[in-house]
């Protein structure tokens, strides 16, 4: 039996490396599209400034992209190194989207990224533009396949347990692809990436405008980012992740945790705006509630109920008892008693086998678990409410602030006075951390809300880890923390340095720091050509 410490440390390591990876990924997703848009304008209008924009934002893109690749490697290795039983148990399904991600997306993105940086002189204008679009397409394809894999962890459709091979096996590839949870996750995540790219360009452009340098360059960047950002932030909010919470038992438990809904309410349920969820007493202290809102958000209806935590625990207790039957039949089948009766009986209850496996944490022998152990396991099917409750609210608040930012920015660009509105420029600059706060808290909701499962209803997290020693995981965890911290410092240093330098880093001779008269004369904005306002 693997020790709980190995499981906890492996979870910590996975959470840390995944969240770290997701510092870089959303910016890659968003900036790739912005680069493609900027270069398209360059190819259509022939104006040099749009080529400079593509190259300069591309430089920052490259600094970010390198760490995206680096930290992505860890993710692929880690399923095998630290979650070996998981890999065996669901590799038949989970491995396929990962391999297809490599074939369809990584090759595309990684092959063309080299041509994006080094092909300016070797390719025609149109060829280079195609290359940039293919990089954007590749990064988005990659998000699609990894979110199909992740969506399956939340809501495992199209698969069945096979007692002969002791693992889950694929039965319906179409169901895996069209998993509703994966669909909404994909739209929500890539749109959040576009918002991240847009806030990044908007904030840094605002910095140049506040400093009154490279105004023409900055205004054009600001305009593109505000239009793309507004469209994206609306998509993130309207096509939010909540619509995926109706399907799958794990998603229901997650939704109840997000809302800290201890008891099932009459539909449509009220939304707890604020409060302190208490897992022990199973109530939310000092709750401030808004009637109807949650029912409408979560179920998109006025009459469907959102099931509360107490009722979920009761349902799960029944499934655990059923799972004990499934487990005892599995032992018989594995022991060689493969009679048709045993197989038929097992097939009847095997959907609850995962619930039976939950008991392995509480009882050495699943079949003879006591009532107390069963109750304990049933209670464990609800994730920790408070961190999910709070993360969700931080994410939503960040999203709302960004919506306001982009609405103001877009309006100002339409009125062509954004460069004179100091408050707006400062608002944009100080909003820079918001998309990252929203992205990180969003993943905390999604993944800590999946606990105690690694594969919802099928495989508990505590069975998924590798049979390795505590020392192994401590060693890799510490090494990763040291290495990742060092890399982050270097990345931030370069990013800040080049962002401050601005387009002058291209050494074209056209920008602020390369001109003889730096600050004596006010820089004349390059407004001879109209800027694009969406």
């Amino acid at each position: 039996m693997i020790s709980e410490e190995v499981v906890d440390l492996s979870r910590l390591q996975f959470a840390m490396t995944a969240l770290y990876h997701f510092i870089f990924i959303p910016l890659t997703l968003g900036l790739a599209f912005l680069l493609a848009i900027m270069e398209t304008v360059y190819v259509m209008t022939g104006q040099q400034v749009y080529k400079d924009m593509t190259k300069f934002w591309g430089k920052l893109f490259g600094i970010n992209f390198a760490l995206g690749v680096t930290t992505g490697l860890t993710m692929e290795f880690q399923f095998g190194t630290n979650w070996a039983y998981y890999s065996h148990y669901v590799g038949d399904i989970f491995g396929a989207p990962l391999a297809i991600e490599g074939l369809m997306a990584f090759f595309l993105e990684s092959t063309f990224i080299g041509l994006f940086f080094f092909g300016w002189e070797r390719l025609t204008k149109k060829q280079h533009l195609a290359v940039t679009w293919l990089v954007a397409l590749g990064s988005n394809m990659s998000a699609l396949w990894i979110l199909i894999a992740n969506g399956w962890m939340q809501n495992p459709v199209g698969a069945e347990f096979n007692f002969e091979t002791m693992r889950m096996e694929l039965t319906d590839f179409g169901a895996l692809l069209l998993n509703p949870v994966a669909q909404v996750k994909f739209v929500h995540t890539v749109a959040a990436g576009y918002v991240t790219g847009s806030v990044f360009v908007l904030a840094i452009s605002s910095y140049y405008l506040l400093k009154k340098r490279d105004v023409g360059f900055a205004r054009r960047s600001f305009a593109i980012a505000s239009a793309f950002g507004l469209a994206s932030v609306l998509s993130v909010i309207v096509l939010g992740d909540e619509s995926g919470y109706e399907v799958g038992d794990v998603q229901k438990a997650k939704l109840a945790a997000i809302e800290a809904e201890w008891h099932t309410e009459e539909a449509p349920a009220s939304f707890t705006l604020f409060g302190f969820p208490n897992q022990e007493t199973m109530r939310t202290d000092y709750a401030v509630k808004i009637p109807f809102v949650m029912g409408i958000i979560a179920t998109r209806s006025l009459d469907k109920q959102v099931i509360g935590i107490h009722d979920l625990i009761d349902q799960h207790e029944g499934r655990i008892r059923n799972g004990m039957v499934a487990y005892s039949l599995l032992e018989k089948l594995r022991g060689g008693e493969k009679t048709p009766e045993n197989i038929a009986a097992f097939n009847d209850v095997k959907k609850d086998l995962g619930y039976g496996l939950l008991l392995k944490k509480y009882s050495p022998d699943v079949v003879s678990a006591t009532d107390v152990q069963i109750k304990e396991a049933a209670k464990s099917t609800i994730p920790h409410v408070a961190p999910i409750f709070w993360s969700f609210r931080i994410m939503v608040a960040s999203g709302v602030i960004m919506l306001i930012l982009f609405a103001c920015a877009f309006y100002a660009v339409a009125r062509r006075n954004e460069h004179r509105k100091t408050w707006l420029l400062k608002f944009a600059l100080f909003s820079l951390p918001l998309p990252w706060i929203a992205g990180q808290t969003g993943w905390i909701v999604a993944e800590s809300g999946r606990q105690p499962w690694s594969i919802g209803e099928m495989l508990p997290t505590h069975l998924s880890a590798s049979s390795i020693s505590t020392g192994d995981v401590w060693g890799s965890l510490i090494a990763l923390i040291v290495f990742y911290s060092g890399l982050l410092v270097i990345e931030m240093y370069l990013m800040i340095r080049f962002a401050r330098l601005g387009p002058s880093s291209l050494h074209t001779g056209r920008y602020h720091f390369e001109k003889e008269t730096k600050t004596e004369l006010p820089v004349v904005p390059d407004t001879a050509t109209p800027i694009i306002t969406a």
Binding site: F65, A66, V69, T70, L73, T74, E76, F77, F79, G80, T81, N82, A84, Y85, S87, H88, V90, G91, D92, I93, G95, A96, L98, A99, I100, E101, G102, L103, M104, F106, F107, S110, T111, F112, I113, G114, L115, F117, F118, G119, W120, R122, T165, M166, E169, L170, T171, R334, S466, S467, D472, G475, S476, A479, F483, L487, I490, L494, F498, H507
Partner: protein, 380 residues
């Protein structure tokens, strides 16, 4: 479309193709980074070396990532047992690979000598470690690894990182190191000129010799029978979904030569390896860089096929409990998954080869120090 047995065989071939693709493409990236401190004496010369691979290394590395993904999808048990069993070896490779994306991109961003030297060392180490570890891993697979499977098919590994560094494992590490460094040498002969190309030529001569000696040495070691091979004893239905624990396996002193005796055509693999090494040796001496590169490519194909053919049908033989050995018959995914993955591979692999080739054609030509001087901010 295909029966389960054929699909199992096809996926054994396809994983091999992906690994060979990795060694052929990322192999010269790794090799060039290994040789960079030797062939590049000034910063500009080292930038020449880096810029021969700058547009390609990222795409090339995807062969490794896809091979890993394909292994996860096609051989989940192998992926699980190998990555968790070789825990520290895998992490060493991972940490080495960390340095490459950042090293290539960040090195040229600052004009500080210390900064660039530090990244040079990082890129060197980032190339040496994987090149050696991959060979060591194969060397240990040939000896069998202390793998245990319990009744729920949970894998446990009863060995340590240091036990991987046994004499035969290290010899295999030297084979892969000299092979990949040689491939980098012939690549640099082809893509650079003048002093850099000359130094690459001399390095390639030495490395081709080292490759031939270690490759033939490892073959003789196996042939002399001082390493036990493994053999499947029980017959089974290759078309069925198999439980790896139900087969009978024995260690025999002719184990790894058995396939070569039974299927004489497979002897071509070591022959190609040796011919490739000789071609690289002779052509780097005479300075025909294209032929030398072809030679090092053949050496790679020959070497990987030699190891694969010897092991077949084993992937991860177990010295702890031979019956728990993982083979390409019983450590595989379901027929459905293998079939779907095959369709994906048939669509995408030709597409990948096409656009990768297009990229190479567009970026072809010699990289020179003048080239770097003309464009100091746009290049790596």
């Amino acid at each position: 479309m295909f029966d389960y047995e054929s699909l199992k065989l096809i996926w054994w071939v396809l994983v091999g193709v992906l690994l060979i693709g990795f060694a052929l493409t990322d192999g010269f990236d790794l090799g060039a980074a290994i040789l960079m401190p030797i062939v590049g004496r000034t910063d500009n010369e080292r930038r020449v070396v880096i810029n021969t691979i700058a547009p390609h290394w990222d795409g090339n590395q995807v062969w490794l990532i896809t091979a890993g993904g394909a292994m996860f999808a096609a051989w989940p048990m192998v992926y699980a047992a190998a990555f968790s069993g070789f825990y520290w070896a895998m992490l060493a490779v991972l940490f080495a690979l960390f340095v490459r994306p950042v090293g290539f991109d960040y090195r040229s961003k600052l004009e500080n000598t210390q900064w660039r030297k530090a990244w040079d060392w990082g890129l060197f180490a980032g190339a040496v470690v994987p090149s050696v570890v991959f060979g060591v891993a194969f060397g240990n697979l040939l000896q069998g690894v202390p793998l245990e499977l319990d009744n729920t098919l949970r894998a446990s590994y009863h060995g340590s990182f240091w036990q991987l560094l046994n004499p035969f494992g290290l010899l295999a590490g030297l084979v892969s190191f000299s092979m990949l460094a040689l491939h980098g040498g012939t690549w640099l002969m082809m893509r650079t000129e003048g002093a850099i190309s000359q130094r690459a030529r001399r390095a390639s001569q030495m490395l081709a010799l080292a490759f031939l000696v270690t490759f033939i040495g490892a073959g003789v070691w196996l042939w002399m029978g001082s390493i036990n091979g493994f053999a499947l004893l029980s017959s089974f239905d290759a078309n069925a979904a198999l439980n790896p624990l139900t087969k009978e396996v024995a260690q025999t002193n002719v184990g790894w030569m058995a396939n070569y005796v039974q299927y004489p055509m497979t002897k071509l693999a070591p022959v190609i390896g040796i011919v490739g090494g000789l071609m690289a040796l002779l052509s780097s001496t005479s300075g025909r860089s294209w032929v030398a590169f072809l030679g090092s490519s053949l050496a790679i194909v020959g070497t990987l096929c030699t190891a694969g053919f010897a092991l077949f049908p084993f992937i991860m033989p177990s010295s702890f409990d031979p019956a728990a050995s993982l083979t390409m018959w019983d450590a595989v995914s379901s027929q459905k998954t293998l079939g779907i993955m095959l369709v994906a591979a048939c669509i995408f692999v030709p597409l990948i080869l096409t656009y990768t080739l297009w990229g190479y054609v567009k970026m072809w030509g010699k990289v020179t120090t003048t080239h770097i001087n003309d464009n100091p901010h746009g290049l790596y």
